[in-house]
Protein backbone atom coordinates (compact mmCIF):
# COMPACT_ATOMS: atom_id res chain seq x y z
CA UNK A 1 0.00 0.00 0.00
CA UNK A 2 2.73 2.37 1.09
CA UNK A 3 4.82 1.38 -1.94
CA UNK A 4 1.95 2.23 -4.24
CA UNK A 5 1.51 5.57 -2.51
CA UNK A 6 5.21 6.42 -2.96
CA UNK A 7 5.10 5.33 -6.57
CA UNK A 8 2.08 7.57 -7.17
CA UNK A 9 3.78 10.52 -5.50
CA UNK A 10 6.95 10.01 -7.51
CA UNK A 11 4.97 9.86 -10.73
CA UNK A 12 3.18 13.06 -9.74
CA UNK A 13 6.47 14.84 -9.01
CA UNK A 14 7.90 13.72 -12.35
CA UNK A 15 4.76 14.86 -14.17
CA UNK A 16 4.75 18.27 -12.48
CA UNK A 17 8.48 18.67 -13.15
CA UNK A 18 8.07 17.77 -16.78
CA UNK A 19 5.13 20.13 -17.12
CA UNK A 20 7.14 22.93 -15.48
CA UNK A 21 10.12 22.30 -17.75
CA UNK A 22 8.02 22.17 -20.89
CA UNK A 23 5.98 25.15 -19.74
CA UNK A 24 9.10 27.20 -18.99
CA UNK A 25 10.53 26.34 -22.39
CA UNK A 26 7.28 27.21 -24.12
CA UNK A 27 6.69 30.43 -22.16
CA UNK A 28 10.24 31.84 -22.49
CA UNK A 29 10.93 34.56 -25.04
CA UNK A 30 13.25 33.49 -27.85
CA UNK A 31 15.49 36.01 -29.56
CA UNK A 32 14.49 35.81 -33.22
CA UNK A 33 16.48 38.82 -34.40
CA UNK A 34 18.94 36.85 -36.49
CA UNK A 35 20.04 38.85 -39.55
CA UNK A 36 17.06 41.21 -39.47
CA UNK A 37 17.77 44.90 -39.89
CA UNK A 38 16.09 46.10 -36.71
CA UNK A 39 15.05 49.67 -35.90
CA UNK A 40 16.85 51.77 -33.34
CA UNK A 41 15.82 52.04 -29.74
CA UNK A 42 15.66 55.43 -28.10
CA UNK A 43 18.55 54.42 -25.83
CA UNK A 44 20.88 54.10 -28.83
CA UNK A 45 20.87 50.32 -29.12
CA UNK A 46 19.18 48.29 -31.80
CA UNK A 47 15.84 46.76 -30.98
CA UNK A 48 15.66 42.99 -30.90
CA UNK A 49 12.80 40.80 -31.99
CA UNK A 50 11.50 38.15 -29.61
CA UNK A 51 8.96 35.41 -30.09
CA UNK A 52 7.27 32.90 -27.84
CA UNK A 53 4.47 30.40 -27.85
CA UNK A 54 2.01 29.99 -25.04
CA UNK A 55 -0.54 27.31 -24.40
CA UNK A 56 -4.04 28.09 -25.60
CA UNK A 57 -6.54 25.35 -24.90
CA UNK A 58 -9.27 26.87 -27.05
CA UNK A 59 -7.04 27.55 -30.06
CA UNK A 60 -7.13 25.08 -32.97
CA UNK A 61 -3.33 24.77 -32.80
CA UNK A 62 -3.25 24.46 -29.02
CA UNK A 63 -0.96 27.48 -28.69
CA UNK A 64 -0.73 31.18 -29.44
CA UNK A 65 2.25 32.94 -30.96
CA UNK A 66 3.58 36.21 -29.54
CA UNK A 67 6.10 38.71 -30.86
CA UNK A 68 7.74 41.56 -29.10
CA UNK A 69 10.42 44.03 -30.08
CA UNK A 70 12.52 46.22 -27.82
CA UNK A 71 15.27 45.60 -25.29
CA UNK A 72 13.74 42.33 -24.08
CA UNK A 73 10.72 40.27 -24.85
CA UNK A 74 9.04 41.19 -21.60
CA UNK A 75 9.63 44.93 -21.78
CA UNK A 76 9.05 45.20 -25.51
CA UNK A 77 5.93 45.84 -27.49
CA UNK A 78 4.00 43.72 -29.98
CA UNK A 79 5.11 45.14 -33.37
CA UNK A 80 1.63 44.81 -34.82
CA UNK A 81 0.14 46.87 -32.00
CA UNK A 82 2.85 49.50 -32.34
CA UNK A 83 2.30 49.88 -36.07
CA UNK A 84 -1.45 49.92 -35.56
CA UNK A 85 -1.10 52.62 -32.92
CA UNK A 86 1.03 54.75 -35.24
CA UNK A 87 -1.42 54.43 -38.11
CA UNK A 88 -4.38 55.05 -35.79
CA UNK A 89 -2.66 58.30 -34.90
CA UNK A 90 -2.62 59.23 -38.61
CA UNK A 91 -6.23 58.13 -38.87
CA UNK A 92 -7.30 60.33 -35.98
CA UNK A 93 -5.49 63.32 -37.48
CA UNK A 94 -7.19 62.82 -40.85
CA UNK A 95 -4.01 61.89 -42.70
CA UNK A 96 -5.18 58.43 -43.79
CA UNK A 97 -8.46 59.83 -45.09
CA UNK A 98 -6.46 62.00 -47.49
CA UNK A 99 -5.42 58.88 -49.38
CA UNK A 100 -7.75 56.83 -51.58
CA UNK A 101 -9.58 53.80 -50.26
CA UNK A 102 -7.66 50.69 -51.25
CA UNK A 103 -9.23 48.99 -54.24
CA UNK A 104 -10.51 45.44 -53.73
CA UNK A 105 -9.53 45.35 -50.06
CA UNK A 106 -13.00 45.61 -48.50
CA UNK A 107 -13.21 46.52 -44.84
CA UNK A 108 -11.80 44.91 -41.72
CA UNK A 109 -13.37 44.77 -38.25
CA UNK A 110 -10.66 44.52 -35.62
CA UNK A 111 -12.91 44.12 -32.59
CA UNK A 112 -13.08 47.87 -31.95
CA UNK A 113 -13.85 49.54 -35.24
CA UNK A 114 -14.45 48.89 -38.91
CA UNK A 115 -11.31 49.78 -40.82
CA UNK A 116 -11.27 50.79 -44.46
CA UNK A 117 -7.75 50.09 -45.75
CA UNK A 118 -6.11 53.00 -47.55
CA UNK A 119 -3.75 53.09 -50.50
CA UNK A 120 -0.93 55.55 -49.83
CA UNK A 121 1.67 56.67 -52.37
CA UNK A 122 4.36 56.04 -49.74
CA UNK A 123 6.39 53.26 -48.21
CA UNK A 124 6.41 53.31 -44.43
CA UNK A 125 9.51 52.26 -42.50
CA UNK A 126 9.78 52.06 -38.72
CA UNK A 127 13.30 53.36 -38.06
CA UNK A 128 13.06 53.79 -34.29
CA UNK A 129 10.90 52.56 -31.42
CA UNK A 130 10.63 53.94 -27.89
CA UNK A 131 9.85 56.57 -29.14
CA UNK A 132 8.35 55.56 -32.44
CA UNK A 133 9.66 57.23 -35.58
CA UNK A 134 8.36 56.21 -38.97
CA UNK A 135 9.83 57.43 -42.25
CA UNK A 136 7.54 57.71 -45.27
CA UNK A 137 9.12 57.45 -48.71
CA UNK A 138 7.20 58.73 -51.74
CA UNK A 139 6.59 55.79 -54.10
CA UNK A 140 3.67 55.65 -56.51
CA UNK A 141 4.34 51.92 -56.86
CA UNK A 142 3.17 51.46 -53.26
CA UNK A 143 -0.38 52.21 -54.41
CA UNK A 144 -0.44 49.03 -56.45
CA UNK A 145 1.93 46.89 -54.36
CA UNK A 146 4.87 47.14 -56.76
CA UNK A 147 8.24 46.90 -55.04
CA UNK A 148 8.66 46.92 -51.28
CA UNK A 149 10.77 45.07 -48.75
CA UNK A 150 11.06 41.35 -48.14
CA UNK A 151 8.26 39.93 -46.01
CA UNK A 152 10.50 39.28 -43.00
CA UNK A 153 11.26 43.02 -42.79
CA UNK A 154 7.60 43.99 -42.63
CA UNK A 155 4.69 44.17 -40.21
CA UNK A 156 1.18 43.68 -41.53
CA UNK A 157 -1.59 46.17 -40.92
CA UNK A 158 -5.24 46.32 -41.91
CA UNK A 159 -5.07 50.11 -42.23
CA UNK A 160 -3.04 50.08 -45.44
CA UNK A 161 -3.01 47.89 -48.54
CA UNK A 162 0.70 47.31 -47.93
CA UNK A 163 2.76 46.12 -44.99
CA UNK A 164 4.83 48.55 -42.96
CA UNK A 165 8.57 47.98 -43.22
CA UNK A 166 11.15 48.27 -40.46
CA UNK A 167 14.90 48.76 -40.48
CA UNK A 168 17.63 51.32 -40.89
CA UNK A 169 18.25 51.16 -44.64
CA UNK A 170 15.91 52.65 -47.22
CA UNK A 171 16.11 52.87 -51.01
CA UNK A 172 17.19 56.37 -52.04
CA UNK A 173 14.26 57.14 -54.31
CA UNK A 174 11.40 59.44 -53.45
CA UNK A 175 11.09 62.32 -51.04
CA UNK A 176 11.35 61.35 -47.37
CA UNK A 177 8.84 62.39 -44.74
CA UNK A 178 8.63 61.32 -41.12
CA UNK A 179 6.16 61.25 -38.26
CA UNK A 180 6.07 60.23 -34.63
CA UNK A 181 2.86 59.42 -32.76
CA UNK A 182 4.76 59.64 -29.45
CA UNK A 183 5.29 63.38 -29.94
CA UNK A 184 2.15 63.97 -31.99
CA UNK A 185 4.39 64.86 -34.93
CA UNK A 186 2.43 64.71 -38.18
CA UNK A 187 4.15 63.73 -41.45
CA UNK A 188 6.71 66.37 -42.38
CA UNK A 189 9.68 66.39 -44.77
CA UNK A 190 12.89 65.00 -43.32
CA UNK A 191 15.09 68.09 -42.82
CA UNK A 192 18.03 67.74 -45.22
CA UNK A 193 21.12 69.91 -44.78
CA UNK A 194 22.46 68.55 -48.10
CA UNK A 195 20.89 66.16 -50.64
CA UNK A 196 22.92 63.38 -48.97
CA UNK A 197 22.41 64.20 -45.31
CA UNK A 198 19.41 64.75 -43.06
CA UNK A 199 18.49 64.64 -39.42
CA UNK A 200 15.37 63.85 -37.39
CA UNK A 201 15.18 65.00 -33.80
CA UNK A 202 12.47 63.65 -31.55
CA UNK A 203 12.35 63.89 -27.74
CA UNK A 204 15.91 65.16 -27.87
CA UNK A 205 17.04 62.03 -29.67
CA UNK A 206 18.81 62.31 -33.04
CA UNK A 207 18.47 60.10 -36.04
CA UNK A 208 20.94 60.87 -38.81
CA UNK A 209 20.20 59.91 -42.40
CA UNK A 210 23.07 59.60 -44.85
CA UNK A 211 22.76 58.70 -48.48
CA UNK A 212 25.21 56.14 -49.83
CA UNK A 213 24.53 55.63 -53.53
CA UNK A 214 21.07 54.13 -53.96
CA UNK A 215 20.45 53.77 -50.24
CA UNK A 216 19.76 55.87 -47.19
CA UNK A 217 21.12 54.64 -43.89
CA UNK A 218 19.67 55.75 -40.60
CA UNK A 219 22.08 56.08 -37.67
CA UNK A 220 21.45 56.89 -34.01
CA UNK A 221 24.58 58.76 -32.91
CA UNK A 222 23.55 60.11 -29.50
CA UNK A 223 21.62 62.91 -27.80
CA UNK A 224 20.72 66.02 -29.79
CA UNK A 225 22.66 68.39 -27.59
Amino acid sequence: MRRALYAGLAAGVVAVGAWALIGARVMAWNDATGELDMPWLGNGARARLFTKQSTCLMCPTGYTYHRSWGRSGRSGQEPYDMVDGALRFLQQRGVLDGWPEAIAEGTVYDGRETITPRAAPYRFTVVMIEPTVIVMRFDLGALIKVGGAEADQTIGTPRLNQAVEFGTRLPASGTLLWFSPDTAQLPAPVPLSTPEHGEIVVKNLRLVLDRHGDEWTVARPGPAN
Binding site: P100, I103, A104, L143, I144, V146, G147, T175
Partner: protein, 357 residues
Protein backbone atom coordinates in the same frame (compact mmCIF):
# COMPACT_ATOMS: atom_id res chain seq x y z
CA UNK B 1 -18.85 8.35 -77.66
CA UNK B 2 -19.56 6.49 -74.50
CA UNK B 3 -17.12 6.49 -71.64
CA UNK B 4 -14.98 3.42 -71.24
CA UNK B 5 -13.52 2.04 -68.09
CA UNK B 6 -9.99 0.74 -68.17
CA UNK B 7 -8.41 -1.87 -65.94
CA UNK B 8 -7.70 0.71 -63.25
CA UNK B 9 -11.23 1.98 -63.19
CA UNK B 10 -10.37 5.25 -64.98
CA UNK B 11 -13.11 6.49 -67.19
CA UNK B 12 -11.93 7.81 -70.51
CA UNK B 13 -13.46 9.62 -73.37
CA UNK B 14 -11.46 9.18 -76.53
CA UNK B 15 -13.48 11.92 -78.14
CA UNK B 16 -16.04 14.41 -76.98
CA UNK B 17 -19.28 13.06 -78.31
CA UNK B 18 -17.74 12.42 -81.73
CA UNK B 19 -13.99 12.81 -81.89
CA UNK B 20 -14.17 16.55 -81.26
CA UNK B 21 -11.40 16.54 -78.76
CA UNK B 22 -7.91 15.20 -78.84
CA UNK B 23 -8.28 13.68 -75.43
CA UNK B 24 -10.34 14.48 -72.44
CA UNK B 25 -10.42 12.14 -69.57
CA UNK B 26 -11.51 12.44 -66.07
CA UNK B 27 -10.27 10.24 -63.37
CA UNK B 28 -12.90 8.31 -61.56
CA UNK B 29 -13.14 6.35 -58.42
CA UNK B 30 -9.81 4.57 -58.90
CA UNK B 31 -8.04 7.83 -58.14
CA UNK B 32 -9.98 8.16 -54.94
CA UNK B 33 -9.13 4.67 -53.84
CA UNK B 34 -5.47 5.54 -54.31
CA UNK B 35 -5.64 8.19 -51.62
CA UNK B 36 -7.50 6.02 -49.15
CA UNK B 37 -5.51 5.70 -45.94
CA UNK B 38 -3.53 2.51 -45.81
CA UNK B 39 -4.72 0.09 -43.11
CA UNK B 40 -1.43 0.26 -41.24
CA UNK B 41 -1.85 4.02 -40.84
CA UNK B 42 -4.65 3.33 -38.43
CA UNK B 43 -2.18 1.93 -36.00
CA UNK B 44 -2.07 5.52 -34.89
CA UNK B 45 0.77 6.79 -32.82
CA UNK B 46 -1.14 9.73 -31.47
CA UNK B 47 -4.69 10.76 -31.03
CA UNK B 48 -4.31 13.73 -33.36
CA UNK B 49 -3.03 11.56 -36.18
CA UNK B 50 -5.92 9.15 -35.65
CA UNK B 51 -8.46 11.94 -35.83
CA UNK B 52 -6.87 13.35 -38.98
CA UNK B 53 -6.84 9.97 -40.64
CA UNK B 54 -10.39 9.30 -39.57
CA UNK B 55 -11.48 12.60 -41.10
CA UNK B 56 -9.61 11.83 -44.30
CA UNK B 57 -11.13 8.40 -44.41
CA UNK B 58 -14.60 9.83 -43.84
CA UNK B 59 -14.08 12.30 -46.68
CA UNK B 60 -12.89 9.63 -49.06
CA UNK B 61 -15.68 7.29 -48.11
CA UNK B 62 -18.21 10.09 -48.64
CA UNK B 63 -16.73 10.93 -52.05
CA UNK B 64 -16.84 7.26 -53.02
CA UNK B 65 -20.40 6.97 -51.78
CA UNK B 66 -21.54 10.00 -53.78
CA UNK B 67 -19.64 8.77 -56.81
CA UNK B 68 -21.26 5.36 -56.68
CA UNK B 69 -24.69 6.81 -56.11
CA UNK B 70 -24.34 9.25 -59.00
CA UNK B 71 -22.49 6.93 -61.40
CA UNK B 72 -25.43 5.49 -63.42
CA UNK B 73 -26.90 8.92 -64.12
CA UNK B 74 -23.54 10.62 -64.69
CA UNK B 75 -22.60 7.97 -67.22
CA UNK B 76 -25.96 7.81 -68.96
CA UNK B 77 -26.21 11.60 -69.32
CA UNK B 78 -22.51 12.20 -70.12
CA UNK B 79 -22.68 14.69 -67.28
CA UNK B 80 -18.94 15.14 -66.91
CA UNK B 81 -18.13 16.20 -70.43
CA UNK B 82 -21.18 18.45 -70.47
CA UNK B 83 -19.94 19.98 -67.24
CA UNK B 84 -16.53 20.54 -68.83
CA UNK B 85 -18.11 22.29 -71.83
CA UNK B 86 -20.34 24.38 -69.61
CA UNK B 87 -17.42 25.37 -67.39
CA UNK B 88 -15.42 26.45 -70.45
CA UNK B 89 -18.36 28.52 -71.64
CA UNK B 90 -18.76 30.13 -68.23
CA UNK B 91 -15.04 31.00 -68.15
CA UNK B 92 -14.94 32.54 -71.63
CA UNK B 93 -14.89 36.19 -70.53
CA UNK B 94 -12.17 35.52 -68.01
CA UNK B 95 -10.25 33.71 -70.76
CA UNK B 96 -10.31 36.81 -72.96
CA UNK B 97 -9.29 39.01 -70.05
CA UNK B 98 -6.45 36.71 -69.02
CA UNK B 99 -5.04 36.62 -72.55
CA UNK B 100 -4.78 40.42 -72.67
CA UNK B 101 -3.50 40.80 -69.13
CA UNK B 102 -0.90 38.08 -69.55
CA UNK B 103 0.40 39.69 -72.75
CA UNK B 104 0.93 42.91 -70.80
CA UNK B 105 2.84 40.90 -68.24
CA UNK B 106 5.16 39.62 -70.99
CA UNK B 107 5.80 43.08 -72.43
CA UNK B 108 4.61 46.18 -70.60
CA UNK B 109 1.53 48.18 -71.41
CA UNK B 110 2.33 51.35 -73.28
CA UNK B 111 4.92 49.47 -75.30
CA UNK B 112 2.26 47.55 -77.13
CA UNK B 113 -1.42 46.65 -77.28
CA UNK B 114 -4.01 45.25 -79.70
CA UNK B 115 -2.88 47.72 -82.37
CA UNK B 116 0.71 46.38 -82.35
CA UNK B 117 1.49 44.16 -85.37
CA UNK B 118 2.80 41.31 -83.18
CA UNK B 119 -0.15 41.35 -80.77
CA UNK B 120 -2.52 38.99 -82.65
CA UNK B 121 0.17 36.36 -83.24
CA UNK B 122 1.34 36.61 -79.63
CA UNK B 123 -2.24 36.22 -78.43
CA UNK B 124 -2.61 33.05 -80.49
CA UNK B 125 0.72 31.68 -79.19
CA UNK B 126 -0.26 32.50 -75.62
CA UNK B 127 -3.68 30.88 -76.06
CA UNK B 128 -2.04 27.73 -77.43
CA UNK B 129 0.41 27.51 -74.53
CA UNK B 130 -2.29 28.14 -71.94
CA UNK B 131 -4.71 25.68 -73.52
CA UNK B 132 -2.04 23.00 -73.56
CA UNK B 133 -1.35 23.60 -69.87
CA UNK B 134 -5.09 23.63 -69.10
CA UNK B 135 -5.57 20.23 -70.72
CA UNK B 136 -2.82 18.91 -68.46
CA UNK B 137 -4.67 20.38 -65.49
CA UNK B 138 -7.88 18.69 -66.57
CA UNK B 139 -6.02 15.40 -66.63
CA UNK B 140 -5.02 16.00 -63.02
CA UNK B 141 -6.62 17.69 -60.05
CA UNK B 142 -9.01 19.86 -62.02
CA UNK B 143 -10.58 16.75 -63.52
CA UNK B 144 -10.92 15.23 -60.06
CA UNK B 145 -12.62 18.36 -58.73
CA UNK B 146 -15.03 18.40 -61.65
CA UNK B 147 -15.82 14.77 -61.01
CA UNK B 148 -16.55 15.54 -57.34
CA UNK B 149 -18.79 18.48 -58.22
CA UNK B 150 -20.76 16.42 -60.70
CA UNK B 151 -21.04 13.47 -58.32
CA UNK B 152 -22.17 15.63 -55.43
CA UNK B 153 -24.97 17.27 -57.36
CA UNK B 154 -26.14 14.33 -59.46
CA UNK B 155 -26.29 12.14 -56.37
CA UNK B 156 -28.84 14.51 -54.86
CA UNK B 157 -31.64 12.92 -56.90
CA UNK B 158 -33.79 10.29 -55.24
CA UNK B 159 -33.11 6.76 -56.55
CA UNK B 160 -36.45 6.68 -58.40
CA UNK B 161 -35.79 10.05 -60.01
CA UNK B 162 -32.30 8.98 -60.97
CA UNK B 163 -33.65 5.77 -62.51
CA UNK B 164 -36.19 7.76 -64.51
CA UNK B 165 -33.44 10.03 -65.85
CA UNK B 166 -31.17 7.09 -66.68
CA UNK B 167 -34.00 5.40 -68.55
CA UNK B 168 -34.58 8.57 -70.56
CA UNK B 169 -30.91 9.05 -71.49
CA UNK B 170 -30.64 5.40 -72.51
CA UNK B 171 -33.75 5.60 -74.71
CA UNK B 172 -33.31 6.30 -78.45
CA UNK B 173 -34.83 9.78 -78.14
CA UNK B 174 -32.86 10.53 -74.99
CA UNK B 175 -29.58 9.64 -76.70
CA UNK B 176 -30.33 11.92 -79.64
CA UNK B 177 -31.24 14.75 -77.26
CA UNK B 178 -28.09 14.17 -75.22
CA UNK B 179 -25.90 14.14 -78.35
CA UNK B 180 -27.47 17.33 -79.63
CA UNK B 181 -26.90 19.12 -76.33
CA UNK B 182 -23.33 17.90 -76.24
CA UNK B 183 -22.71 19.16 -79.78
CA UNK B 184 -24.29 22.53 -78.96
CA UNK B 185 -22.03 22.94 -75.93
CA UNK B 186 -18.97 21.75 -77.87
CA UNK B 187 -19.65 24.33 -80.57
CA UNK B 188 -20.34 27.13 -78.11
CA UNK B 189 -17.12 26.47 -76.22
CA UNK B 190 -14.98 25.90 -79.29
CA UNK B 191 -11.48 27.35 -78.95
CA UNK B 192 -11.68 27.82 -75.21
CA UNK B 193 -9.23 26.21 -72.77
CA UNK B 194 -9.34 22.77 -71.10
CA UNK B 195 -10.01 20.99 -74.39
CA UNK B 196 -8.04 21.19 -77.64
CA UNK B 197 -10.25 20.38 -80.58
CA UNK B 198 -8.83 18.45 -83.50
CA UNK B 199 -11.72 19.28 -85.82
CA UNK B 200 -12.20 22.68 -87.44
CA UNK B 201 -14.89 24.97 -86.12
CA UNK B 202 -16.77 24.45 -89.38
CA UNK B 203 -16.73 20.68 -88.87
CA UNK B 204 -17.93 21.04 -85.29
CA UNK B 205 -20.73 23.35 -86.44
CA UNK B 206 -21.66 20.88 -89.14
CA UNK B 207 -21.77 18.06 -86.59
CA UNK B 208 -24.02 20.18 -84.39
CA UNK B 209 -26.37 20.87 -87.29
CA UNK B 210 -26.49 17.17 -88.11
CA UNK B 211 -27.36 16.42 -84.49
CA UNK B 212 -30.05 19.08 -84.62
CA UNK B 213 -31.53 17.46 -87.71
CA UNK B 214 -31.57 14.07 -86.00
CA UNK B 215 -33.39 15.59 -83.04
CA UNK B 216 -35.90 17.40 -85.22
CA UNK B 217 -36.61 14.28 -87.23
CA UNK B 218 -37.21 11.86 -84.39
CA UNK B 219 -40.28 9.65 -84.63
CA UNK B 220 -43.29 11.30 -83.00
CA UNK B 221 -43.31 9.09 -79.91
CA UNK B 222 -39.62 9.78 -79.27
CA UNK B 223 -40.15 13.51 -79.76
CA UNK B 224 -42.93 13.29 -77.23
CA UNK B 225 -40.67 11.41 -74.82
CA UNK B 226 -38.00 14.10 -75.09
CA UNK B 227 -40.60 16.81 -74.55
CA UNK B 228 -42.18 15.01 -71.62
CA UNK B 229 -38.87 14.38 -69.87
CA UNK B 230 -37.66 17.93 -70.20
CA UNK B 231 -40.97 19.22 -68.84
CA UNK B 232 -41.06 16.72 -66.00
CA UNK B 233 -39.96 17.50 -62.46
CA UNK B 234 -36.82 15.37 -62.91
CA UNK B 235 -35.89 16.88 -66.28
CA UNK B 236 -36.39 20.37 -64.94
CA UNK B 237 -34.34 19.57 -61.85
CA UNK B 238 -31.48 18.13 -63.89
CA UNK B 239 -31.34 21.11 -66.22
CA UNK B 240 -31.35 23.40 -63.20
CA UNK B 241 -28.48 21.48 -61.61
CA UNK B 242 -26.51 21.48 -64.84
CA UNK B 243 -27.07 25.07 -65.95
CA UNK B 244 -27.31 26.89 -62.64
CA UNK B 245 -25.11 25.02 -60.20
CA UNK B 246 -22.61 22.76 -61.90
CA UNK B 247 -21.86 25.31 -64.62
CA UNK B 248 -21.24 28.04 -62.05
CA UNK B 249 -19.02 25.94 -59.82
CA UNK B 250 -16.97 24.49 -62.64
CA UNK B 251 -16.72 27.88 -64.33
CA UNK B 252 -15.25 29.20 -61.08
CA UNK B 253 -12.82 26.30 -60.86
CA UNK B 254 -11.67 26.87 -64.42
CA UNK B 255 -11.27 30.62 -63.97
CA UNK B 256 -9.10 30.00 -60.92
CA UNK B 257 -7.11 27.33 -62.68
CA UNK B 258 -6.27 29.63 -65.58
CA UNK B 259 -4.82 32.15 -63.17
CA UNK B 260 -3.06 29.35 -61.33
CA UNK B 261 -1.42 28.16 -64.53
CA UNK B 262 0.02 31.63 -65.11
CA UNK B 263 1.19 31.93 -61.53
CA UNK B 264 2.83 28.53 -61.71
CA UNK B 265 4.20 28.52 -65.27
CA UNK B 266 4.11 32.20 -66.28
CA UNK B 267 7.83 32.47 -67.06
CA UNK B 268 7.88 29.30 -69.09
CA UNK B 269 4.77 30.36 -71.03
CA UNK B 270 6.28 33.81 -71.66
CA UNK B 271 9.39 32.16 -73.13
CA UNK B 272 7.22 30.00 -75.37
CA UNK B 273 5.29 33.03 -76.64
CA UNK B 274 8.50 35.00 -77.26
CA UNK B 275 10.00 32.11 -79.16
CA UNK B 276 6.89 31.87 -81.33
CA UNK B 277 6.64 35.63 -81.94
CA UNK B 278 10.15 37.09 -82.05
CA UNK B 279 9.02 40.55 -83.20
CA UNK B 280 7.11 41.35 -80.04
CA UNK B 281 8.49 44.17 -77.87
CA UNK B 282 11.37 43.30 -75.53
CA UNK B 283 10.69 42.53 -71.87
CA UNK B 284 11.32 45.17 -69.26
CA UNK B 285 12.16 45.12 -65.57
CA UNK B 286 10.10 48.28 -65.14
CA UNK B 287 6.52 48.11 -63.92
CA UNK B 288 3.82 49.95 -65.80
CA UNK B 289 2.03 52.27 -63.39
CA UNK B 290 -0.40 54.23 -65.57
CA UNK B 291 -0.45 57.69 -67.09
CA UNK B 292 0.29 61.26 -66.13
CA UNK B 293 -1.34 64.27 -67.76
CA UNK B 294 -0.13 67.81 -67.29
CA UNK B 295 -3.02 70.27 -67.38
CA UNK B 296 -2.63 73.72 -68.99
CA UNK B 297 -2.20 75.14 -65.46
CA UNK B 298 0.62 72.57 -64.93
CA UNK B 299 -1.32 70.51 -62.40
CA UNK B 300 -0.51 66.81 -62.77
CA UNK B 301 -3.30 64.25 -63.02
CA UNK B 302 -1.83 60.86 -62.17
CA UNK B 303 -3.81 57.70 -62.98
CA UNK B 304 -2.25 54.58 -61.46
CA UNK B 305 -3.80 51.37 -62.81
CA UNK B 306 -4.15 48.53 -60.40
CA UNK B 307 -4.10 45.03 -61.86
CA UNK B 308 -4.36 42.08 -59.51
CA UNK B 309 -4.31 38.43 -60.49
CA UNK B 310 -4.34 39.18 -64.24
CA UNK B 311 -7.39 41.36 -63.78
CA UNK B 312 -7.85 45.10 -63.92
CA UNK B 313 -9.05 46.05 -60.44
CA UNK B 314 -9.34 49.82 -60.66
CA UNK B 315 -7.49 53.11 -61.04
CA UNK B 316 -6.12 55.40 -58.36
CA UNK B 317 -6.34 59.06 -59.36
CA UNK B 318 -4.11 61.62 -57.69
CA UNK B 319 -3.54 65.28 -58.49
CA UNK B 320 -0.42 67.25 -57.68
CA UNK B 321 -0.41 71.05 -57.86
CA UNK B 322 2.82 72.79 -58.94
CA UNK B 323 3.48 73.76 -55.32
CA UNK B 324 2.95 70.26 -53.88
CA UNK B 325 5.82 68.45 -52.25
CA UNK B 326 5.83 65.66 -54.84
CA UNK B 327 5.02 67.63 -58.01
CA UNK B 328 8.66 68.19 -58.90
CA UNK B 329 9.78 64.62 -58.36
CA UNK B 330 6.99 63.29 -60.58
CA UNK B 331 7.89 65.86 -63.26
CA UNK B 332 11.57 64.91 -62.94
CA UNK B 333 10.66 61.43 -64.12
CA UNK B 334 8.68 62.72 -67.11
CA UNK B 335 11.36 64.06 -69.40
CA UNK B 336 10.06 66.96 -71.46
CA UNK B 337 6.40 66.81 -70.39
CA UNK B 338 4.54 70.05 -71.00
CA UNK B 339 1.03 71.42 -70.51
CA UNK B 340 -1.52 69.28 -72.36
CA UNK B 341 0.81 66.24 -72.61
CA UNK B 342 -0.03 62.76 -71.41
CA UNK B 343 2.74 60.22 -70.77
CA UNK B 344 2.91 56.62 -69.72
CA UNK B 345 4.48 56.16 -66.32
CA UNK B 346 6.86 53.36 -65.36
CA UNK B 347 8.71 52.49 -62.17
CA UNK B 348 12.07 50.73 -62.17
CA UNK B 349 13.00 48.23 -59.42
CA UNK B 350 14.75 51.01 -57.49
CA UNK B 351 11.55 53.07 -57.44
CA UNK B 352 12.55 55.69 -60.04
CA UNK B 353 9.88 57.01 -62.38
CA UNK B 354 10.22 57.28 -66.14
CA UNK B 355 8.12 57.52 -69.28
CA UNK B 356 9.72 54.60 -71.12
CA UNK B 357 9.64 50.92 -70.22
Amino acid sequence: MNPKTNAHGWRWWYGCGGDLCRSVFIRGSARLSRVQPRPESFGARSRRASVALALLFATVVRADYLGERAAPLVEASHAEIRAVYLGRWMARRRWDEILDEALYAIAPKGRWGPEHPAWPAARVALADALRQASVEKLRGETGTWIRHVVDEHYSSLEPAESAQAVAFYESPGGRVFRDFREHVLAEASYGLPFVIETESHAAVTQAMEAARERLLNLPDEQTQAVYDFNHSKVGDLLLGIENNIVADVIGNIMRSELEGILNEHGSEIARTVRAAVPDMPPPSDKAYLGTVTMRPDRFLDVAIEYHEGYRWAGTYRLTYAPGDAHWQEVVDGLAGIGPGDTRFLYRDPAGRLSTTP
